[in-house]
Symmetry: none
DNA sequence: TCCTCTTTGACCTTTGTTGACTTTCATATA
DNA sequence: TATATGAAAGTCAACAAAGGTCAAAGAGGA
């Protein structure tokens, strides 16, 4: 895959986080931009598109002298959105009697326990895929 | 029969996939079009007519700078060892009345359709995870 | 001829890149 | 203490660089 500048900066930041002890790094926006020979707002763009809470990251920053951007990876909340959505969806299906209580229990158990060896990004994709498939299944059988 | 341009592009892509490690390639639409001296939408046409899910392929793409099209060949899941094992296991559960026919149908549909964006290896891992989880679930409820 | 598949191109949508301008903060200075 | 100054980061809109859509025209075979 040809990597865009944004891709490279993303990867760079992820390596830094991976190497860190506390899943947390502090950078200076201008300095990072300098490293990649681009404008500082490019870094802002990368953070806005690839390090959102949805992606399992939280960033806080301070302006002015000695300013910084701190990026923290929250493994806990990672893929939480998809997980929550999927659970909510399954609840709805039960409410509308599209599935039974027994099926719901099995599904919830499954999605809670079957994918613990995947990283949060993969989990997100898996949950999305399952949601889509269940949705299709229900549509087929209604 | 004379080979159309679309046929040639199709063959070209299939060779690339055959040579790849993971049954998956990434191309740039414009670049491929350049190679065959045609308009980019010709490539789109080839993908739409010869690399559909029915044909056993899944394509995803990204627009914008350094965009790409990723084409994945989804070999028949039935030939995947983990898939076969999982299906067999689910059949057993039904036979022992650990799950109902309804549950079985849902599960089979799910594992057949939910993970098409993953490559072979990842699917294997996913199926293993699901099998383990179902096994645990049944043990808990017997 | 007629029908189906192919080819093309104009226009659309999404994603990435840049730079001018704004806001916030620490610190030096009156 | 109040204010000025400079050094950060944020915002936003214009522009660039991909891929997508769709309809019309072309080509070839039954």
């Amino acid at each position: 895959m040809k990597k865009s500048l944004a891709d490279k900066i993303e990867q760079y930041i992820k390596v830094l986080i991976a190497r860190s002890e506390s899943d947390q790094i502090e950078i200076q926006r201008a300095e990072l931009a300098e490293t990649f020979s681009c404008v500082p707002s490019q870094v802002t763009y990368v953070l806005a598109t690839r390090f959102t809470e949805r992606d399992g990251y939280v960033t806080i920053s301070r302006r002015g002298g000695k300013g910084y951007v701190r990026i923290t990876r929250c493994e806990d909340t990672a893929s939480l959105r998809e997980f929550t959505e999927l659970c909510g969806f399954i609840d709805e299906l039960l409410a509308y009697k599209a599935i039974s209580q027994v099926e719901k229990d099995l599904l919830i158990y499954l999605i809670t326990n079957a994918f613990k060896y995947f990283n949060h990004q993969q989990k997100g994709q898996i949950y999305d895929g399952i949601k889509q498939a269940i949705s299709d299944y229900v549509n087929l059988h209604e």
